[in-house]
């Protein structure tokens, strides 16, 4: 269980409609790749979810995702699958009014929560380990388009870590921004925010 098996259908279909457990949804990326994804995983994508909520008929044609490449979507699917697996490690939360007896069942829950947290930490550390800055950016764009909050938050956190305490030049290169300040304008801003510029790694 520690190793995410990508082929495992999610044991806890979310908001399952009758007989939906085994349903897959077909997605087509910008570069023409076709992905068949378990419904539960696909429903993690906000855009997909609202698409299918609006149109109750299950798609006969694959849903087009013109702004996401195959490689990005594949990574996104991996993330969402694993994330669902980890979430299903935790039994559903008891209500606040649980009696003491029910709260004791919670001891197992506490353990499960801790284990889940640890799994998530390890998984997230591994997930972006070998990704270049470009890959991370592409994932952000994909997560943004597909409207996956959890993935987006995680990616934003990771980007922040990558650029933290690096020089302005590094950040510009990372984001691919052309600075549009004149040297005087830039000097002016650096002076105004002098305190923020102390103690920087030169890349």
């Amino acid at each position: 269980m520690a190793n995410g098996e990508n082929q495992n259908p999610n044991p806890n279909p979310i908001e399952a409609t009758p007989g939906a457990a085994a349903r897959t949804i077909t997605l087509k990326t910008a570069d023409g790749e076709i992905f068949e994804v378990e419904e539960a995983v696909a429903m993690e994508f906000g855009t997909v979810k609202s698409f299918f909520e609006d149109d109750a008929v299950s798609a006969t044609k694959p849903m087009p995702l013109p702004n996401v490449s195959g490689s990005a979507l594949s990574r996104v699917i991996t993330y969402c699958r694993r994330s669902l697996e980890i979430r299903s490690m935790i039994p559903p939360a008891t209500s606040e009014d649980a009696t003491a007896a029910e709260a004791v069942q919670g001891e197992g829950d506490l353990e499960a929560e801790k284990a889940a947290k640890q799994e998530r930490k390890e998984f997230e550390a591994e997930f972006l380990k070998d990704e270049s800055n470009e890959d991370v950016k592409e994932l952000i764009l994909a997560a943004n388009y597909l409207n996956i909050k959890e993935l987006l938050d995680f990616l934003c956190r990771s980007v922040a870590l990558r650029i933290q305490n690096k020089s302005v030049e590094y950040a510009r290169k990372f984001f691919g921004i052309e600075g549009d300040y004149t040297p005087e304008e830039e000097a002016q801003i650096r002076q105004e925010y002098a305190w923020a510029f102390e103690g920087v790694d030169e890349d």
Binding site: N67, V104, A160, G176
Partner: protein, 527 residues
């Protein structure tokens, strides 16, 4: 020319999250080819050419794709940066110059500055430019100085004007003996937005009614607290869920009148003789706890000054007794300190006999060891989950045995051997603990009837200790319904050498070979 194109495209995107590629604001398709030339200068190594042919739909602005994301995403990234980094992004390009000013969370630490004046100026400058209508978090961490008072007042006002959710003032006394902290402004006591307060080294003295209607978490450190103030706080915070008091003083009774409070943490009671005016007198040296509705209680830290007495915790589900006492410096040795308080430990355990999750810390365990050696029984407990923090040394064995003996309903046992004990009372030191253990074994045997799961957290070195082996062997032999025993090293302190691994493997094999009375027991060794 180049610059115009770029700034034009930057300004042309919209704020909605809808993907940029589909843009109806798809301006000049020629931009696409123009950037072609720039690609070669782009150092990111991204091969625009091949990608472009795949993504036939418009992928202009590739270099600036991150900037082309909506503000909310960029702001999310900035949120995770320390404040100085976030402000620096103002220099990236004109588009970024005021992005950081919408950050919903601000956190300042005077340790990043050499002089306090530089710190205050930095905070002031930042707040001057900041223009988020709402703050989620506002943190100040600084050494305290009375000169800071007018600054702190304004900063607090800034935060409350922005309807902040979490306000934290981590102030530290310049001098450990200084009792005078920052006087909280009166307007702060009537605040309807804050859900979390954290006050360190502050004077909490509400004059009128206190009204913290949204407050859920309150943490107070290093402050004097009068009982009437505590009462005011509890009565005025109808949604308070957790209360933490770290190194506070000035109260002899914690009467938790709150209907909503579920978690109480008392971490140390600060030594302030001249404020307490009590010096070893019997009643004043006690801290009474009356909390009939709380579910979780932690008594940790230095309790040399006070003995905790629990009067009513009838709804308590989990408790941690992690406190310790240090000796009076004059003439008593540490072990005497433990002996003097063993009666208190016994009374505490008696008042907590109904609690389902019990955690016993190192110091309390030592007290239990002493009691065991004196043949005094440990009070019976109904706990189902027992966590023992121990260094698994000789002086811990009697205490562990005593606990196991008095917890017949235990289903889950956690033995946490990741911290070090520091009390080695002579009484136990010179005792033959192994024989003591063995002599009690017939009693233990009958009392592990429900134990299903054992989890042991320890470092690799512990595996070779004979006390550890004794306990593990004993558990395996006598826990008749044991399902699983897991031995975990919490985090590798260093990469294990081949030698270490080999040794661990040897021990593992040895442990796995011990007889088990439970046919289904699984022993897991994730090393």
């Amino acid at each position: 020319m180049e610059e115009e194109q770029i700034s034009g495209s930057i300004n042309s995107f919209s704020d909605q999250y809808s993907p940029i590629y589909n843009s109806s604001h798809d301006t000049n398709p020629n931009n696409y080819y123009y950037y072609d030339d720039d690609d070669e200068e782009e150092e990111s190594g991204y091969d625009h050419r091949t990608k472009r042919s795949k993504h036939a739909p418009i992928l202009e602005e590739e270099e600036d794709r991150i900037s082309a994301l909506p503000d909310s995403i960029l702001l999310s990234i900035l949120c995770f940066l320390p404040i100085n980094n976030a402000i620096k992004t103002g220099v990236l390009s004109k588009r970024w110059v005021s992005l950081w000013t919408s950050l919903p969370s601000l956190s300042f630490d005077s340790n990043s500055f050499k002089y306090l004046e530089d710190f205050t100026r930095a905070v002031n400058d930042t707040l001057l430019l900041h223009r988020a209508p709402k703050l989620t978090k506002f943190d100040i961490r600084s050494e305290y100085d009375t000169d800071l008072d007018p600054r702190l007042d304004i900063w607090v006002r800034f935060a409350t004007n922005a309807k902040v959710d979490q306000l934290r003032l981590y102030l530290s006394p310049p001098d450990p003996l200084d009792p005078n902290g920052y006087q909280l402004p009166q307007h702060l006591y009537a605040n309807e937005f804050v859900s979390e307060f954290n006050f360190s080294f502050c004077n909490i003295k509400p004059i009128g009614l206190l009204n913290w209607v949204s407050l859920k978490h309150l943490c107070i450190q290093k402050s004097a607290l009068r009982e009437d103030v505590i009462r005011k706080v509890l009565v005025g915070s109808p949604r308070l869920e957790s209360l933490e008091l770290h190194d506070c003083y000035g109260f002899h009774r914690l009467d938790i009148v709150s209907e909503s409070l579920r978690k109480l943490v008392i971490d140390g009671y600060l030594d302030r003789d001249y404020i307490d005016n009590s010096d070893g007198g019997s009643d004043e040296a006690e801290l009474e706890i009356v909390a009939p509705k709380i579910h979780s209680l932690e008594i940790v830290g230095d309790f040399s000054r006070k003995k905790c007495r629990i009067k009513n915790v009838s709804a308590l589900v989990e408790v941690k007794l992690g406190f310790y006492l240090t000796s009076d410096f004059e003439y008593r040795e540490e072990e005497d300190a433990v002996e003097r308080h063993e009666d208190n430990v016994k009374k505490l355990l008696e008042s907590l006999h109904h609690v389902k999750n019990l955690t016993v810390g190192i110091w309390c365990l030592t007290a239990l060891s002493i009691m065991s050696v004196k043949h005094l029984p440990s009070p019976l407990s109904k706990c189902k989950c027992l966590t023992i923090q121990t260094s698994m040394g000789k002086c811990d064995l009697p205490g562990i045995g005593s606990l196991l003996q008095s917890s017949p309903y235990v289903e889950t046992l956690v033995i946490d051997i990741t911290s070090w004990g520091y009390v080695w009372p002579a009484l136990v030191r010179d005792y033959d603990v192994v024989n003591h253990w063995k002599s009690k074994e017939i009693y233990f045997k009958l009392l592990l009837l429900r134990l299903k799961s054992v989890k042991i957290l320890c470092f690799a070195e512990t595996l070779h200790q004979k006390e550890f082996i004794l306990v593990v062997k004993f558990l395996l032999k006598n826990a008749k319904v044991l399902e699983k025993m897991v031995i975990i090293e919490p985090q590798s302190r260093q990469n294990p050498t081949r030698n270490m691994l080999r040794k661990s493997l040897q021990v593992a094999q040895k442990l796995l070979s011990f007889p088990r009375s439970s046919p289904n027991a699984v022993v897991m060794f994730p090393y």
